[in-house]
Symmetry: C3
Subunit: 632 residues, 3 copies
């Protein structure tokens, strides 16, 4: 497969005479894809029922005529103002009980059935009209589900749907009361219509209540998406994608992804570094104009899994953005490096966001490939360079990663519901393990939590998986590689209770977590062989102790296929443990300096220098923000 | 009196066949008491008016048969879901105007009269049934009044009751307007029904308004409690307790305690250290697995005063809890040390919370004496050791403390209403003085603010008492010991105005606070003899100046029985001043190293090592988390 | 003109027999003015329509008889409780949608038309009665517009008025949609009655929407004020003032000031230092008892501009206040220094707030010239000293400042609406430039943004002016001094869009801002000639580069009359650049040590030592908190 580039474009923002010029410039730059339409409901349907497709017909024709392929987005993330008049109760409610008003985007509640019907209607009209259009080569549903904290809604619509969902799941209030342990504080319900949403309780709500609400909310997103994919598929064979947003874990991307052909995500390395990473100030400063060296790769690998191999970058940061606490300019070369990192991880396409910087409205400070005055911005020429490099290079082949890491959205909900310590965050934990692998030069596959076959991997990590699925437990039985489980894995039943016998209950591993402790940042638990447990540690009763803490508790349990890690290792401990496990299994590791990363793709190794200075490794010097590839 | 141990138990959480085994194990461990019932309203009354006492009858019988004595709790902290259907307006409202919903606990408003009637009904039924039961040897009302910020409610029920309370107090709006100084910003009221609750005002509400609301809210708690004690007493002579929570000062525990036989409190040393103490990060780190060395003792002494000598620990932390920001595992031995510290301070009983860790609902991560799989947790054996030690030792005799410290809940409200500086907190101030005394090896009595006789004490401290009561002012007149008053004592009239003549207006002490200043943490005021004033200092005009600041203002005023301290002393200044006053009065002091504390009980001195390492003092080495006692 | 002193007084707070004594003491102290009445609506009109003027008649008579001149305040900042009963919807709403309740002050919404009618009624009655009174020599409207975050209200009244305002401005929804760029996220409106207030949107609202709401809200304040001035002027020729509050930028003081004769402001140097300044902890500590050395001067210069030359201090801090996070006592002498600093900047009068410390209600901890027991507080004698010094000195003459600085309230709204970086605040930016000028010993004039003639100044600075007005652009064309424009000047169109061609679009200056970046505090951009850009920098394409950054971008552009600064300079860079520009234009500069400041007034130079220690400069030693003047 040939990797391609693309761009996001909003014909409705520009005078029609400009479209053809824009399209020509895009094609000349070497772009293949142009995504359009996802915020244009008001232009498609200016009044309820009065459709205006003419402009969109012409825009698609203009783009197609220039040789571009169109990704057409459904506009359901931006219902027009008249929609709110028609359905005043369609607005989501926040956890404080306030309606989330019209005036920006994503102001709908996933559970509002009449709004879903409106979405089905507009998607149906679009699919019917453009499904057969030869220029429309892919579709996108909605835009960035869950962004701006929109997965969970506390509206009446959500309440009603949640009660139905619970009734479906439990069949009787008694079953629910037992499953949740409602006897605890006289919290029993006599009927499903007595159950509320778990916000605004005096102290914490029952975590089983919260978890079910989160499972429900995730299902609502999947259902909302499926409504659209079902309709689109009736009219076209073009692949359907959704553009996920970075570090959004409130809904299960695997579940939503099951109804899609392609997973894509919106990659804003500098925004994410400024906004959503637990790193030191020094780290933020060092990578301020390059982005974190592992955050994008981690998402690439997640979405390759979500897309069952097929994934894109639907929006790639081209310059400063407008929404992070601080918005520096990327180092020259980063718009190229980010694209190549995506391709090295198997991206089919990388689309820059956006073609031309809008001079108006919310994102007027968000860079594009062109400035608002249509002059090329720095990313424009870098995109051109990538296009030429792609053309000159044989295809990027998929990698057989030796190592896999399980990622489970439900565990993110579990530990947000019950962190037990202020710093226990599932994404943070798994990302920490991912960074540890990558610092050893390893290419990694992400696995969904219901993976039933691990035989392709010599090493599998499953930290923090709240409840191991039957499939995964099955795969671990008789596994011949090495699986590192824990900390805090298999610590909950499906009903969000503590299992008895106590965790982790791993087949063939004599290990019982007697109790756990969460730790303030300045209270590490040293390991006898070096490094520490931070944030979290478990006191286990175990037979085979491979490592211990200096205070005499097992740190690493097991000698065989299954190992249990009884705490959150710091960087030093993690590197040592991973290096040891890799050595056991014959997996070659490197010792990469800060900011230098690599990724194998077929027989080619790609190198990425995220540092603001050149770095020399194994005799090769890579410039700042530089990409280098070599045959292995 | 023989000191005893106990445990909190929830028969409704476990299969009935397990009860007898549990009871036998409790008795075998040496426990005397078992507290039950306080969250079980739904099990007692599954539907409005349909009572189910059978399970409770059998549970009490089973426990009693094993030789255990039952503390029976009224279940009014957890009204069932049907109660909210019956009385939708019974929910408390928070200061932001949001109802505090069903789904956890304490979701009632103290002022809601129909809910009070429901409470009277269930308590009456319980008292009638179990008052005569020989196994029910004590009662507990409700659970942790005020916990989760539930003293103050901004509901319509509270508004109505507040207006009635004001009408009762002031008789006429004019009297209220004058008392509050409502002329200040045209805030006068023409009738009591015009008065609102003091939340959501544009800028701060009139502090007199706020103070009256706080006095009212405290009265509501006392009235709510009295309703229950009056009913219980009609059916039994067994003592009645309430379990107060640490550092809850929103209602007057002395006033509530006046209707109770026993004061008890719930002691969670590690949770409190993590959650509610103004100490340095180093202090938190050092004591992370032991708890603050003075916080528990301070509460012990407060509740000995609240209980007029009779007090318990109703809930004692046994291992990691679930609710603090960080929840580390206590050092081995702490479950024993904490119990002995309580006994040394005169506790009649110490009950661990809870028997077995629940595997479900909100507190599934809260340790018990048993793990969820019924295996003994570390605290189990420590409790057994305490039981054996208690049996082997003559009784812990009461102490004649040489020093007393006044604690006044209304002052906590006063300075929360009008801190005048960000760091001025009454509890923090008094606890600072308490810690200063205890670091000198002193045993301390806490006195209520209306104490009329100080003759038992050679030294009395009364920092920060907003309004000295007539009783205390009387006791100070002709007092022959030394009383250290201030800072900020007698600074307000009963109407929360500045007295004219200016404070402190102490009999026989020529001292006028000309003005005050609050200070940021980095702006200390040095004292000429060493140490500093921090946070707060007063500029006084005074005749007898015992100490001065380096900028020339009186720091300590008076030479006789009454001394006035014109600022918040730092640790060094406080130690020096207290040592001097003690020396004057012939009170022997020690100079204890960090984390080592002692408490006299009769002729026995108990030593407690809160450090994570052994400490040697006066030739004796006490291990980490160790307890030592010696005859004096 | 003879400069005068005054005081704020509340006869309604004190027994009538005390008034005459107070008046005599005021006069004896050398005070000229006494401001009264501004919170006394309830005393003027105890019930709707029942007026009680007697007490006010007598108070004015008593004060006048002592030789004092009265400033009479309209009481509209404190509508009585009965007003809220009469107009329940008059309350402002906060951005969270909660009504801002009765019980303090400023609880009205500027947009509530019936409340405006009530204000017109009471002001009319007052003006009719006291306009002819010979003792009433000045008027004050309302009190501290905008204080306590009261400019923006999200009430229904505000919504209705905003829609009307928009309809007036845009005439058609289509015009509004185009101006705002509502096509961006399908945010178009079909009618003005569809438009909401820009709070509680899911993510940020359209900045053009927010800006129009801010413009509207500012207009509402001006309209509210004009209603009062129009009425007062019908009955008197006495000058009318309003007392603005420090660092309130939510409404345009120039626009409000256009209807007033005198600008005045309320100067609380210690409160402001503690509460509203972005300075280092060391700076706060050093000036804790003196106040920031530039903050007051900056406001003096702003209000001299707002008052078109005529300005007062209406409230001058006399001792500790009650409302800041920390409230230390001023250093002895500061109450004098602050007054002299005001006079040196051209104040006609300085009124201390307040005569006697109130012993009751919200401000009982706010110092006065007298203590609550009527004893003189330290500021009393300092005020007396200033009175004597004024009497002994020839008048303070106005200054011809060589340097001017543009201050534009709309730019404060613009960059609050769209900071783009967490630390970008307009007031902070301009104050930073002001401080830079003042550290060079310069006297400065503030100019409104529509200034059409700059010829009086050799140097003009205009940092951060979002949209340069046609008048100012005109003045810059052909300007013969030096104008330093930028950073971020002329960066927006009047519709809050990015201009195309790109900014700054300065006549005769070849400079295009290609892109901008906001920077975290630890990511400075070094300048080749020393110092750094902090927080913000722009990458420009420019012809004449006067300075560059070390990474090779223009830092300072232009050689002629117009210069463009492409970033936020740190102290070092700013001092260097300003010194250079001054040297070019022959403006003499000094190099003042920390805390020493000067201000020229006619041929006299005033020196102010804000340090807590004496400072020696140019052979003269000025004591701590000292004032010194010399003839030039």
């Amino acid at each position: 497969m040939k990797r391609t580039l693309g761009v996001c474009y909003y014909p409705e923002h520009w005078p029609e005479p400009q479209w053809a010029t824009d399209a020509t410039r895009m094609a000349d730059l070497g772009l293949t894809w142009v995504r359009i339409g996802e915020f244009a409901w008001q232009r498609m349907e200016p009044e309820p029922g009065r459709m205006d497709w003419g402009w969109l017909d012409r825009a698609i024709e203009t783009l197609g005529a220039a040789g571009l392929k169109v990704v057409l987005g459904t506009p359901t993330a931006t219902p027009p103002r008249w929609m709110v008049t028609k359905h005043p109760d369609m607005l989501a409610m926040d956890a404080q009980g306030r309606p989330r008003g019209f005036g920006s985007r994503r102001h709908y509640c996933f559970s509002h059935r009449p709004y879903r019907a409106e979405c089905a209607r507009i998607v149906g009209l679009m699919a019917e009209r453009y499904g057969p259009n030869p220029h429309v080569a892919a579709w996108q549903t909605d835009n960035e589900y869950g962004c701006h904290d929109t997965t969970l809604s506390y509206s009446d619509a959500a309440l009603g749907a949640f009660r139905d969902w619970l009734a479906q799941k439990y069949q009787s209030p008694d079953a629910l009361n037992r499953a949740w342990g409602n006897v605890f504080w006289s919290m029993d319900y006599a009927g499903f219509d007595e159950i509320g949403l778990p916000n605004l309780t005096v102290t914490e709500a029952n975590p089983a209540h919260v978890m079910d609400f989160r499972r429900f909310a995730s299902d609502e997103v999947a259902g909302f998406n499926r409504l659209q994919t079902d309709i689109i598929r009736r009219h076209t064979d073009a692949p359907i994608a959704h553009n996920y947003m970075g570090r959004i874990t409130e809904f299960d991307h695997f579940a939503t992804g099951a109804d899609l052909d392609i997973a894509s995500w919106d990659s804003y390395p500098l925004g994410f570094l400024s906004d959503r990473l637990e790193v030191t100030p020094e780290h933020k400063r060092h990578f301020a104009r390059q982005g974190d060296p592992d955050f994008q790769a981690f998402h690439h690998d997640i979405y390759r899994a979500v897309g069952r191999g097929r994934w894109w970058i639907m929006e790639q940061q081209p310059g400063p953005v407008n929404w992070a606490p601080y918005n520096p300019d990327p180092l020259p070369g980063m718009a190229r490096l980010w694209a190549w990192e995506a391709f090295a991880h198997g991206a089919e396409a990388v689309c820059y966001f956006r073609w031309r910087q809008a001079p108006f409205a919310q994102e007027q400070m968000h860079a594009g490939l062109l400035r608002s005055d249509s002059v090329a911005a720095p990313a424009h020429d870098q995109a051109g360079q990538v296009a030429r490099e792609l053309a000159a290079m044989p295809d990027v082949e998929p990698t057989a990663a030796p190592v896999a890491l399980v990622f489970d959205y439900a565990s993110a909900w579990a530990w947000q519901t019950q962190p037990q310590g202020r710093d226990f965050d599932y994404f943070r934990l798994v990302f920490h393990f991912y960074r540890g692998l990558r610092a050893l030069g390893l290419s990694v596959d992400i696995l969904p939590p219901d993976t039933a076959d691990l035989s392709a991997y010599r090493l599998v990590l499953a930290p923090g998986v709240a409840t191991l699925s039957p499939a995964l437990l099955g795969a671990l039985t008789g596994y011949t590689g090495t699986a590192l489980i824990g900390p805090r894995s298999n610590a909950k039943t499906a009903d969000f209770a503590t299992p008895v016998p106590l965790p982790p209950n791993l087949p063939g591993l004599a290990c019982t977590v007697a109790r756990v402790e969460s730790l303030p940042p300045d209270l590490p638990v040293p390991l006898a062989q070096g490094g520490n447990f931070l944030h979290w540690r478990e006191k286990c009763e175990a037979a085979e102790v491979a490592e211990a803490t200096t205070d005499g508790w097992p740190a690493l349990v097991g000698q065989g296929a299954l190992r249990y890690l009884a705490g959150w290792p710091d960087e030093e401990a993690l590197a040592r443990i991973l290096r040891g496990l890799c050595a056991e299994r014959g997996i070659a590791t490197l010792d990469l300096p800060q900011g230098l990363r690599c990724r194998d793709s077929g027989a080619r190794r790609f190198w990425f220098n995220y540092n603001p200075d050149p770095v020399t490794h194994a005799g090769v010097t890579i410039p700042a923000a530089g990409v280098h590839w070599q045959e292995l």
